[in-house]
Amino acid sequence: MSAWVLLRRELALAWGRGGGPLLACAFYAGMTTLLPLASGPSPARLAVVAAGSAWAALALSSLLPLERLFERDFEDGALDLLVLGALPLELVCAVKCFAQWLATGAPLAILAPVVSSALGAPLSLAPLTFVCALIGGLGFAFTGGLGASLALGSRRGGLLVAVIVLPLFAPPVIFGGGAVAALAGGLGWTSGLMFLAAYSLAAVALAPFAMAAACRNALS
């Protein structure tokens, strides 16, 4: 019940006036437009790096809305209220990250196969790209939330979040990019997908405890 109330608020905040998810999608599209400009528009060359670059850009786009995930509630005092609700703080953090995944991760995952195909990746990769982006997005949301909570209250929070989180994004980028590359090369791709799912699930299970501790620490 409480979790549902919080989830609805978080989704409303994410989609509210700021339009965060749309911005993240626009950033994603913009970044993948820059790539052909930088590395030359030859389709043969682009097709080789298309899937991988789409993945890396996806990870970076997931960073964008993180800064506001906890910081906003911390600054205006709403985090005090969230701590004093019936839901344990660990679950509060999990719900916030889950909402982040629904609001930003899912739209980015829908965009991922479009972007990757636009760069020249074969259409046959599109379904796996979408699935990887969706599962990886869950990991990005939870590890990202961890970074966001650790950066609470520091000046230059946004940059700090990126610096903390980027190393944590390495495994999902490797596993997801690896799975898509394996499919493109005609190899077995399931193991990559399994590792990606395992990483995301581990993040879902463990990150809330770290986030709750970081929030308590920031409040005290």
Partner: protein, 187 residues
């Protein structure tokens, strides 16, 4: 170190006005009672009708903290914010609507929080005290932005809360509009 050797109790139906100069630790004491700050030493006990309560349960279902940060999102409407705060702390949409009437802010319900004045925002923040009944009210300078009429009205609300066995602990500089025991923090 903000203060030491402080000890006081608060029983049902009682109000305590926490006074002391700026920086003497009034806010920190309220936050320590709410469990947001861990005191270097000492403890907070919550007693229920059947013996001591688990502090976590007492805090997550038994107290309201209204501080100078009001926890309101400026981009959302007054109603969206109050409805969430009420339901989050155990109330309902119906009780939130009732609270809007009680705090005389019903006509502001559809305005964004950014459009409200400081006094109106404070009344919106205080509305959750009415919207979800919890026995202990921890209030940090609750009256500061309110005009004299609203101070008197909030005084009536506090009296009504005390009559039903509630407890009020308020950090204040101006006297509370209700009879209250004073506890002074010395720096």
């Amino acid at each position: 170190m903000l203060f030491e050797g402080l000890g006081f109790g608060l029983s049902a139906g009682e109000a305590v006005a926490l006074t002391g100069p700026n920086g003497s630790g009034k806010t920190s004491l309220l936050r320590a009672i709410a469990g947001l700050v861990r005191p270097a030493a000492g403890r907070v006990r919550f007693a229920g009708p059947a013996g001591d309560l688990e502090p976590e349960t007492a805090r997550s279902s038994g107290l309201h903290l209204v501080g100078h940060l009001d926890g309101l999102k400026t981009s959302r409407t007054a109603w969206e914010e109050l409805s969430f705060q009420a339901r989050w702390t155990g109330g309902s949409d119906a009780s939130a609507r009732q609270a809007l009437e009680t705090m005389q802010i019903a006509r502001l319900a559809d305005l964004e929080v950014r459009m409200l004045s400081a006094g109106q925002r404070r009344r919106l923040a205080l509305a959750r005290l009415v919207a979800s009944p919890r026995p202990l009210w921890l209030l940090d300078e609750p009256l500061a932005p309110l005009d004299s009429t609203q101070r008197a009205r909030f005084g009536e609300l506090m009296s009504a809360h005390l009559k039903t066995g509630g407890l009020v602990l308020a950090a204040v500089h101006d006297p509370l509009p209700i009879p209250a025991r004073a506890v002074e923090l010395q720096p």
